[in-house]
């Protein structure tokens, strides 16, 4: 190894900070563009011009956007993410709980989905154009093309309503201990696994099949190697880069993309919090979640690039 890796990481992290900065500006502009503000949203039916004005003054909303944004930025740099406008709770406290839930769900789904996706991809590549390949390919395609709430409802109908094997509602707060937590979140994990495994499987298969025309694969064949060895020893190690990319993309999706699944199973994750906070115009929370999502994005892709580097001897060992 050499010292380029730390430099790359440092560069990417700097870029990451820039991205976070950009995202926070975009979010501020976006939420400001929404009709109404947190006062009219919270006060709801009872809102009258005087009460809204009083509320705005209380929350400092009567200041110009850029002042509020700079304030926020200043505080964030010091590690203070502010309080929710709607119910005055600490954003960091609200987020940390939801974040834990979201990351738990993502991790659990990843543990099932990633190996499964890669395994199925390898199997499909090995038996390409066979009935097995077609079966795997078309069933994953069907999984890709089904809306995730639909997958969720079907799983719920089968596993919760008809058979009562798993709970329909993921009340994770009440679950104590690892196993009961896993049991309670089984259905969202399954749904998330189903919708992501297909993508990973297809990419794995495609990346491997793409390499099959390479001279070194032909060489391996001419050395009399078995098809399974050719796929696993010769094609797979060179297909890691695209596979890692798609795996990371799906890991990212597991964290940021499961709003709908959270709603279906009433799973208290970040996505649902974000959606509700957008509706409430609760800017500090929206900013907070957006920062989390963007950080996940930046970190995951950094990890992906590092892993791709490590998987590629050209980058691992220089000349």
């Amino acid at each position: 190894m050499n010292n380029t890796l730390p430099i790359i990481i440092l560069k990417r992290l700097t870029m990451g900070l820039f991205i976070l900065f950009g995202v926070s500006i975009l979010i501020t502009v976006g939420v400001e563009a929404l009709a109404g503000d947190v006062c009219s949203a919270v006060l709801g039916q009872a809102a009258s011009p005087e009460t809204v004005a009083a509320c705005q003054a209380q929350l400092g909303l009567n200041q110009p956007v850029y002042v509020r944004y700079l304030d926020w930025l200043f505080n964030v740099v010091q590690g203070d993410f502010g309080t929710s406008l709607a119910n005055k709770r600490e954003v960091s406290e609200l987020l940390s709980k939801r974040m834990g839930n979201t990351f738990y769900l993502a991790t659990a789904a990843a543990i099932f989905a990633v190996p499964l996706g890669i395994f199925l991809g390898v199997v499909a590549a090995l038996y390409r154009n066979s009935a097995l390949d077609h079966a795997i390919s078309s069933s994953t395609l069907a999984a890709i093309s089904s809306p995730e709430f639909f997958v969720g409802y079907i799983l719920m109908a089968i596993f919760a309503v008809s058979n009562n094997w798993f709970p329909a509602i993921s009340d994770v707060e009440s679950a104590a201990g690892f196993w009961s937590r896993l049991y309670v979140s089984a259905l969202p994990i399954m749904t998330l696994t189903l919708v992501t495994v297909a993508h990973m499987m297809r990419m794995t298969r495609a990346s491997i099949v793409n390499l099959l025309a390479s001279p070194y694969i032909e060489m391996a064949k001419l050395k009399g190697m078995k098809p399974s060895r050719i796929i696993i020893k010769h094609a797979l190690p060179n297909a890691w880069a695209p596979i890692i990319q798609v795996v990371v993309l799906n890991l990212g999706y597991m964290v940021v993309g499961c709003v709908v699944i959270e709603v279906v199973f009433v799973y208290p994750g970040l996505g649902a919090l974000t959606v509700e906070s957008v509706m409430l115009r609760d800017l500090p929370i929206v900013q907070g979640t957006a920062m989390v999502f963007a950080t996940v994005y930046v970190v995951l892709f950094l990890v992906a690039d590092i892993l791709s580097m490590l998987a590629n001897p050209r980058l691992r060992y220089r000349k």
Binding site: E218, A220, L222, K223
Partner: protein
Amino acid sequence: MTGTLLDIKDLLIEADIEGEWKPIVHRLSMTLDRGEIIGLIGESGAGKSTFGLSALGYTKPGCRIVSGSIMLNGMELVGKPDSGLRSIRGNKVAYVAQSAAASFNPAHTLFEQFAESPVQHGKMSAEEARASCVELFRQLHLPEPELIGNRYPHQVSGGQLQRAMTAMALGSSPDIIVFDEPTTALDVTTQIEVLGAIKEAVKAHQVAAIYISHDLAVVAQMADRIMVLRYGDLIEEGKASDLLSDPQEEYTRQLLNVRSERARKNQDREENIQLHIENISARYPGMTFNVLEDINIKVVRGRTVAIVGESGSGKSTLARVITGLLPPDRGSIKFNGDLLTAELKTRPVNALQSIQMIYQMADVAMNPRHRVKEIIGRPLEFYLGMKPEARDTRVFELLRQIELPEEFSERYPAQLSGGEKQRVCIARALAANPDLIICDEVTSALDQLVAEGILDLLLNLQKKLDVSYLFITHDIATVKAIADEIVVMHQGRVVEQGGKEAILSPPFAPYTELLLSSVPEMEPGWLDDLVSRRKKGEAPTADSIGT
């Protein structure tokens, strides 16, 4: 150790060409005895690789064996199931591919790949394989034979990789090795070293070989017997020495004659300097060393300057500097007495018009989605502002000049052969009415006979149009054929320059001599002779001049 090892009879192989099965190997037969080396020679499309690979019972994807028989040691390979063939491949018959760089798996070390055949075929344990690997690497003159096996392919040079691949083929002590153009991708000086190493090793191991090449001179050095193939048919077959000294067929004669020099009379004319390169030094952004160092070159109107050198010599970089793609650090370029600005963007259109370029790979030099008439017609519109009608007339004229029929104007590049593509590129350059054409390795991707045609065309056009060429090449033979003046480049510097006669006759600069001596010659035994002379120090080697 005599007797027929491989007996191929009436082999018919078909390929799926745009959905139709067409024969590409026409009922060819071959026998190979133990310890014998047979050379398969032919141009692209001759079916030589397909035929050679059939010795492993293998056809490329999209090809199939239709009929015939392949007997290996009395065993029929045609119709044998894959599992049966696997026990032969890499075991009884081994393969050395054209590009070792592409054929080594980038994800594994050389040793891992070496050991794969013997270990997987159950011939050796991993430890035995390692010992055998070191021994073979040593035999093939690889540096640090104990350690080089731990390297990954990208950490090893092209010539070394090709030798490692030969070692890999020998690793499981096969009866036959199929060499598929093993040195074509290498520089000329490297090629000689690899050829020498391969020959030595093959002789030492008493292994039979099928040696496939498009270069008759190379085959002449390696093979006991030669088969000349064309379009899937056998043209001529015979002992190497007989075939070279007394070819029976016209086609073989043509192949033998490709290296004949063209008589060029030196037109006496005043020195009208068209391009003047002065003190050019250049580097790529982010690089710490200069790729070009203090280059001075003059090109006279109507004459051809050849820039010759191996890969990495900086000859192509020089073309980029002249065209303005890479602004130099130092030095100036004058064209017809006017100073050319360094940056392409700042050059006036007429300066762009008067220097045109022709590329090595005609395939990627033409937009695959444009028709020939658009490709040739674009400079006409762009520089000369021609209207469609005038343009089309001129396109037809240009097509005639490059000896192609008018109806080609409606074709797409993919519908042209390699030589035709390069001709269209020439026409595109001519369309701009240039004063100077930079030809960057324009013939090196072409078959020899086709390349000859292109060179003839370029010379004829020069006579008619009085255009100058800056001819960039690695091939001394081409230089001999076309140049008025020669510039020899090595590692970014001009090693020697001057008139053709001066450069190509003694006394030579050492590098020039290395280049010249490395060009394979037709007579058998030349290689052995050269290798032994080099060993004795009578001829320069790459090491001796510090490559």
